[in-house]
């Protein structure tokens, strides 16, 4: 045992040293020379959807800088990995604003994180553009408290709209078609998550309207690993359409759907199936799966889409851009326009005002935000017509490719039934 004085001395030294290190770290310069404009991007780096957010932002920033930046000032991107954690994100947001001096933050595809960051946007008085999460709570929050949440913009449509569009797709491709009109008995198949609640409501309302009967409604935990009981129920209900609302899960239900040869068409919203890597991830089990998404393998929604698609796939080796790459890319340009119009975004309120006035044509269609008085406050305006708002396509996996089946204008093919689905049709 050491002597008391020795101990106290070593402890004191330790505390002093630790304190010194801490202080020197804490008083690092907070504001840098104002030449470049800093923008923060936040997402989980380990996830495909996170990577595509970072990539799209990087791509857009480079393009903008190459084109002369914001009135001559360059954009500087700061990337923050949040590990899916809300607490981590709020810390990163503070660092971004108070340490790295960003004028706006964008990214995020998980609703928990998006919701947790909203209060911080108002506290840090920094615009936040949510580009990947679909929860309708985001615009609802802005509408309920526009004064506080005016900094929050949602540059991706909310899940209720996604559901509506899926109904429209089902109507157009199934009930309106002679060949597939027998596909009119649907099961709603949703992961138990907040974003699917409005989806379910929407499905329940719109499916009967388009002549599809809802024969069962299944919500399951996102932790579900074995889908046998669920598929057994679907078979029993004698359904031939699965109207899905899945994003946290994706690979597992699709693989088991194929393995167990569930005789129902897999359609609706399947977040992960939108990724070009989904074929490999499911080892091809996704053959025949239909899903809707805002943008897809460069489908020329606008004249800017193909160029973006080409630049993205050329630059990054992670495959084709996922949906949130399109939305993030558009959000970057929305931000750029607003920065130009608000003198570099030094004043956050001015920047918000400028963002509210956004109106240009992006890669998913026209980009403009709803006013705070609208139902979908500060959300990007949606319209089936790309010249009027963010748009939507539906595709089916066929032979390893995502083949667009809707809207007709862009369609590259027709629905093909997997063998085990068509067999069941008399």
């Amino acid at each position: 045992m050491r002597s008391f004085s020795g101990m106290s001395r070593s402890l004191a030294t330790a505390v002093v040293v630790a304190g010194g290190v801490l202080c020197s770290a804490l008083v690092m310069p907070t504001a840098r020379a104002a030449e470049p404009i800093s923008i923060g991007v936040i997402a989980p780096e380990s996830h495909v959807l996170g990577k595509s957010i970072f990539n799209a932002a990087e791509l857009a920033a480079d393009e903008i800088n190459k084109a002369g930046g914001i009135n001559g000032r360059m954009l500087e991107l700061h990337k923050y990995n949040n590990n899916f954690s809300a607490a981590d994100s709020s810390r990163a947001f503070q660092r971004a604003v108070q340490q790295d001096g960003v004028v706006a933050m964008m990214g995020i595809f998980t609703s928990e994180v998006a919701l947790a960051m909203m209060p911080w946007a108002s506290r840090l008085q920094t615009p936040l553009l949510v580009t990947g999460a679909a929860s309708s709570e985001i615009p609802a929050g802005v509408k309920a408290n526009p004064e506080r949440y005016k900094y929050v913009f949602h540059s991706y449509v909310n899940s209720a709209i996604l559901a509506q569009e899926s109904c429209i797709v089902a109507n157009a491709t199934l009930t309106q078609s002679d060949k597939f009109k027998g596909f009119n008995r649907a099961v709603i198949f949703s992961e138990d998550a907040a974003w699917t609640k409005p989806v379910d409501e929407s499905y329940l309302k719109c499916l009967p309207k388009v002549g599809i009967k809802v024969v069962d409604h299944i919500r399951f935990s996102p932790d579900t690993t074995d889908f046998t009981p669920i598929y057994s129920r679907i078979k029993k209900a004698d359904a031939n359409v699965i109207m899905a609302a899945v994003a946290h899960v994706g690979v597992k239900p699709v693989i088991q759907w194929k393995q167990q040869e569930v005789p129902a068409l897999f359609t609706g919203i399947n977040g992960q199936a939108g990724s070009s890597k989904f074929w490999a991830a499911t080892n091809g089990a996704t053959e025949g799966v239909i899903t809707g998404t805002p943008g897809l393998n460069g489908a020329p929604l606008t004249d800017k889409t193909p160029a973006f698609f080409k630049a993205y796939t050329k630059r990054f080796d992670i495959g084709e851009p996922a949906y949130d790459a399109y939305t993030t890319y558009d959000a970057m340009y929305a931000l750029k326009d607003a920065l130009v119009r608000s003198d570099g975004g030094g004043d956050a309120d001015k920047l918000v005002k400028a963002l509210e006035k956004t109106d240009f044509t992006g890669v998913l269609g026209r980009v403009a935000f709803h006013g705070t008085g609208d139902d979908y406050a500060h959300e990007v305006i949606f319209n089936q017509d790309p010249t009027k708002g963010q748009s939507f396509v539906a595709f089916q996996w066929q032979d390893g490719k995502q083949v667009i089946i809707w809207p007709e204008k862009l369609a590259k093919g027709k629905i093909r039934l997997p063998a085990f689905v068509s067999q069941s049709q008399k």
């Binding site: 004191a12 505390v15 907070t30 709020s90 604003v97 928990e112 907040a194």
Partner: protein, 309 residues
């Protein structure tokens, strides 16, 4: 105990606290934010250490208590519209009730078995949160109507104040006769009973106090964040953070818990530029401390050493 030495150490600690209290004049809001979170985690860690280090209870569910405090407060604010200063006591009360519910199993079950019960309690709590998503916000969480304050200095002082009060109260407690009895019963229940102490009473006290501070800190945390979500106050990851903070700081030491919490959070921020692997690196550091200096920073600094019994 050697009194002069004791005072020396206390002096250093008091100075460190005073210096920290002056930080808002020197550092950016961001570092205040980091220290705010560190302070809340430090309170969780101290409250957990009261049960584990002093009371000998292997509690793997600190987030059961924290979560009750957080959601109790959050739901009173959002659904009942109660103001912050009413909601926080409500959440704290919910946590204390939860703490009392753990006393039964704690008295009946030993070591790891009790640990399992607490772990299951956390899992059930998160199931309940998901099942009643209409009231709890489910997995995406609950947006609160109010927050403590938007000022980062204000938030820092709330958190740092709570941490200081907790540290003071717990320090008085563990150095008092109560602390002595609690530690003795954690070490050997039978022998303590044989000295004439009804251990049950002291266990209840320990759980109530631990739950009180856990719940209070949980409630204040959600009013700091502005949201309550399972990922921030219930998830196993939070439990792991608390346990690791306590152990690498030095269990059975109030200052140790604080050092551990600050280290974990600050190290995470320092390593942020490393990118994706930063949290893994923190875990590696923590594991190294755990394996090679299981008594934590406090023992490395030479303040205390315990021998193998």
């Amino acid at each position: 105990m050697n009194r002069t030495w004791f005072d020396w150490r206390t002096g250093v600690v008091v100075l460190a606290f005073a210096a920290t209290a002056c930080l808002p004049w020197f550092v950016s809001g961001y570092w205040l934010g980091v220290l705010t979170i560190s302070s809340y985690v430090a309170v969780y860690a101290m409250a957990w250490d009261l049960l584990f280090g002093y009371g000998g209870e292997v509690n793997f569910g600190p987030t059961f208590l924290i979560g009750l405090g957080a959601y109790g407060a959050g739901m009173s604010n959002t659904f009942l519209g109660w103001p912050v200063w009413v909601s926080i006591p409500v959440g704290t009360l919910a946590a204390v009730i939860g703490g009392l519910a753990l006393v039964g199993p704690a008295l009946r079950l030993k070591g790891p078995y009790f640990g399992l019960v607490t772990l299951v309690a956390v899992l059930l709590l998160s199931q309940v949160i998901n099942m009643f998503a209409g009231y709890t916000g489910g997995e995406i969480g609950l947006a609160l109507r109010d927050i403590l304050t938007i000022s980062s200095t204000g938030n820092f002082y709330y958190a740092f104040g709570l941490m200081t009060i907790t540290a003071l109260v717990l320090r008085i407690l563990v150095r008092s006769p109560l602390g002595l009895i609690l530690e003795a019963s954690g070490q050997d229940t039978t022998a303590t009973e044989a000295l004439g102490f009804s251990v049950t009473k002291f266990k209840i006290l320990a759980f109530v106090i631990s739950a009180f501070f856990s719940g209070l800190a949980g409630a204040m945390t959600v009013f700091y964040f502005g949201t309550a979500s399972p990922g921030t106050v219930v998830a196993v990851a939070v439990t792991i953070q608390i346990i690791i903070a306590t152990i690498i700081g030095g269990r059975r030491s109030i200052i140790g818990s604080i050092l551990g919490a600050v280290f974990l959070i600050v190290a995470g921020e320092f390593l942020r530029p490393v990118g994706q692997l930063s949290s893994t690196l923190v875990a590696v550091l923590a594991l190294l401390v755990l394996v090679f200096a299981p008594n934590g920073f406090i023992s490395v600094f030479g303040a205390r050493r315990e021998r193998k019994a």
